[in-house]
Point group: C2
Chain length 107, copies 2
DNA sequence: TACTTAATTGTACGTAGTTGCACTAAAGAT
DNA sequence: ATCTTTAGTGCAACTACGTACAATTAAGTA
């Protein structure tokens, strides 16, 4: 089983289930141009707990939206980056971001 | 107070808070071209309970993404449609839908 | 008089998502 | 031997999200 989508009633439902979640959008957006280590992500995703970060990264990895590369070093080093499928979501998150910015400024 | 966004760390976060929720995307998509009555929406959003539909519609209305028009008749008649702000989200939901369709077929 | 219809509302309950905090591993430096 | 660093894990608590089902309103019809 590739991921944890229960039952999608339509493609919109499916997509929302896959990138819903409190931090998924932000993480994907932050990873848009490059490789980030766990600690860098933790600093970038302001307010996230290590527990949630780990959990969310695992889900994104299971969903094949991000790639996790482990370096066998001590202290440990792990780098995260977008997969091709994940990269396909960037234009759409970008659109959403533009809309969000506009809305925030007009409140 | 216009809506219930607590604190957005960035525009991506803000946008996701505003159209997150289990049914919001689907409802907006269904309303993309026209006016629908409560009962019609209930049939269109397969699996939703009347309680959740009412609640979600209220949130979308408070967020100014949909417009609610009440006809003073008996039995009651209420029509929902997208506001201009809501319409701006359609291209992006459309993109998401395309991505979702592609993903669903490749599983 | 009772029944039907449309769009809800209210209460109670159950599950899923999120948080807080303490804790671990393993090598190298002090 | 203890300290430091990085990337986590484990558990309990809490809150938000979602479900189930009964009840409401008020005019029109049988």
């Amino acid at each position: 089983m590739k991921n944890k989508i229960k039952k999608a009633h339509c493609a919109v439902d499916y997509a929302f289930q896959r990138i819903g979640g409190k931090y998924k959008g932000r993480i994907l957006w932050i990873l848009r141009d490059g490789f980030l280590r766990y600690g860098e992500l933790k600093r970038a995703v302001v307010g996230i707990t290590p527990k949630m970060l780990t959990q969310t990264l695992k889900e994104l990895e299971a969903d094949e939206l991000i790639f996790r590369k482990v370096y066998l070093e001590v202290p440990p080093k792990v780098e995260y980056s977008l997969t091709d499928t994940g990269k396909e979501l960037i234009p759409f998150i970008s659109l959403m971001r533009t809309w969000g910015e506009k809305q925030m400024s007009s409140d």
